[in-house]
């Protein structure tokens, strides 16, 4: 039997990996939008904060962040709870993985969205304000739909890097595809087959993502083609 019946387990792990990547993407998009707004905010402390976030996070490897946040924050929480005489909290590895990856990729998304927002002509937003829209409404009705086109190439790249980074999350004990592959490797004594299957799964995820994102890019570029002709 192929992989001695470990294939379903690895596939389950891949589903968890995909869920993790999707949830982390949502967190990183939210953080990225906030970061981009802070970077362009009139307030200097907010700009500095966003600058610090995007520089420091992007300057340190994902793996080191995972160790630092997962083990460090857990220890901090334990110390805190011990000092307060509370029972020690049990951090769910999935939530920890989502938050850690989301925090890291939020920094990359900050840069993506900042560039994209700056690429939208200012007159568009001014027209929105002239119609009496509030800042939030201007953002969601005018800025956001137009910035997507500029953000997509870099966004796609970030997503692909994020998917590949999820492979590292098994170090914090999540039951993901790498964790299950490790178990399968030890039992089956077929490490090559196991990791080739894992590589194939990742390749499938990146291939499908590429196709979807290319379709999305085409969709958001529809208005552009006419003007280019």
């Amino acid at each position: 039997m192929f992989l001695q019946g470990y294939l379903p387990s690895i596939l389950e792990g891949a589903v968890l990996t995909l869920k993790l990547a999707g949830a982390a993407l949502a967190v990183s998009v939210a953080l990225g939008l906030i970061g981009a707004m802070f970077k362009m905010a009139p307030s200097r402390p907010l700009r500095l904060l966003a600058e610090l976030y995007s520089t420091v996070v992007r300057g340190v490897p994902d793996l080191v962040w995972m160790f630092l946040l997962f083990f460090g924050v857990q220890m901090l929480l334990n110390d805190l709870c011990a000092a307060m005489a509370w029972p020690a909290p049990d951090i769910d590895p999935f939530v920890a993985g989502v938050l850690t990856l989301g925090f890291i990729f939020g920094a990359y998304m900050t840069e993506t969205f900042r560039g994209a927002i700056m690429a939208v002509p200012k007159g568009q937003m001014e027209a929105g304000y002239a119609y009496g829209m509030g800042p939030l409404r201007v953002f969601f009705r005018i800025t956001f739909p137009q910035m997507v086109r500029f953000a997509l190439p870099s966004f796609s790249n970030n997503w692909l890097v994020l998917v590949k980074s999820t492979a590292l999350v098994s170090v914090i004990g999540l039951n993901d595809v790498m964790y299950r592959a490790d178990a399968a490797k030890s039992t089956t004594q077929e490490p090559f087959n196991v990791y080739m299957v894992v590589a194939g799964l990742f390749l499938a995820i990146t291939t499908v993502s590429n196709l979807l994102l290319r379709a999305l890019e085409k969709h958001y570029a529809t208005g552009l083609k006419e003007s280019e002709l």
Partner: protein, 243 residues
């Protein structure tokens, strides 16, 4: 909260000094990271120039396999590639019996091999993109001078493409530098490996990984500065005109 004594105590371990534990070698820590990076970049760049020429070739039998190589290596995580080479290849008796086994059983060799292939895949695409973007005037001029295809490639296309690849390549170098952190997961004592060893010795997580993070951050700034001056040297003709 953060134990400064522990930081002062363990800092030398990141620079190859003994931290009271038996050291594997004096190249532990920073030096190991730089070694892995330098070897991977050197071999990776050497591989990627011929591969980039293959990638832009009109012959599908040449361009196809190169496309497949870059597609597979860019579409899968580096950690999986490293595990396939380090753990995976031992599955085959033929590999274990061959002369290559003396190298393939070393984590160091496997890490350099995986990093080399990975960076070669990304760099190939970067250089191939720039070769395709070569201005047609340069090629016409080379033909008008009577150069044949290879002379034109060697004297005109490749030098020009390599210069223009510099900004994208600087990103790749910094990404690769950060990616070498996974070497710490296959027993190697690079910056991350040393931090992990201190963590498992002391059960203190913040201090070792803060040092590791600070070292990587410093390296990132160093590379950004180096590439900025390299761009000034080799790409100044493309810089925006000063008013």
């Amino acid at each position: 909260m953060i134990d400064l004594h522990l930081i002062a105590d363990k800092l030398p371990a990141f620079f190859g000094a003994s931290d009271g534990q038996p050291v594997m070698s004096t190249s532990d820590g920073l030096l190991m990271t730089l070694q892995l990076l330098a070897l991977a970049l050197l071999f990776g760049l050497a591989l990627s120039i011929p591969l980039a020429l293959g990638r832009v070739s009109k012959n599908r039998l040449v361009a196809g396999p190169v496309w497949l190589f870059t597609y597979v290596f860019r579409g899968t995580p580096l950690l999986v590639q490293l595990f396939i080479i380090y753990y995976g290849l031992s599955q085959f008796d033929a590999v274990r019996a061959s002369w290559a086994w003396q190298y393939l059983q070393q984590a160091y060799f496997c890490a350099v091999l995986a990093f080399t292939l990975n960076t070669a895949a990304y760099t190939t695409e970067i250089i191939a993109g720039q070769i395709r973007a070569t201005h047609w005037g340069e090629i016409e001029a080379a033909r008008a001078m009577g150069m044949n295809k290879w002379l034109m490639m060697r004297r005109i296309v490749i030098p020009s493409a390599l210069r223009r690849a510099l900004p994208a390549y600087s990103n790749e170098v910094i990404m690769m530098m950060q990616s070498t952190a996974v070497a710490g997961l296959v027993t190697l004592a690079d910056i991350t490996g040393v931090a992990r060893r201190i963590y498992s010795d002391t059960y203190m997580a913040f201090e070792p990984f803060l040092i590791a993070g600070a070292l990587y951050l410093a390296l990132t700034f160093l590379f950004v500065a180096l590439f900025r001056s390299a761009e000034k040297r080799w790409l100044s003709y493309l810089a925006p005109r000063k008013s």
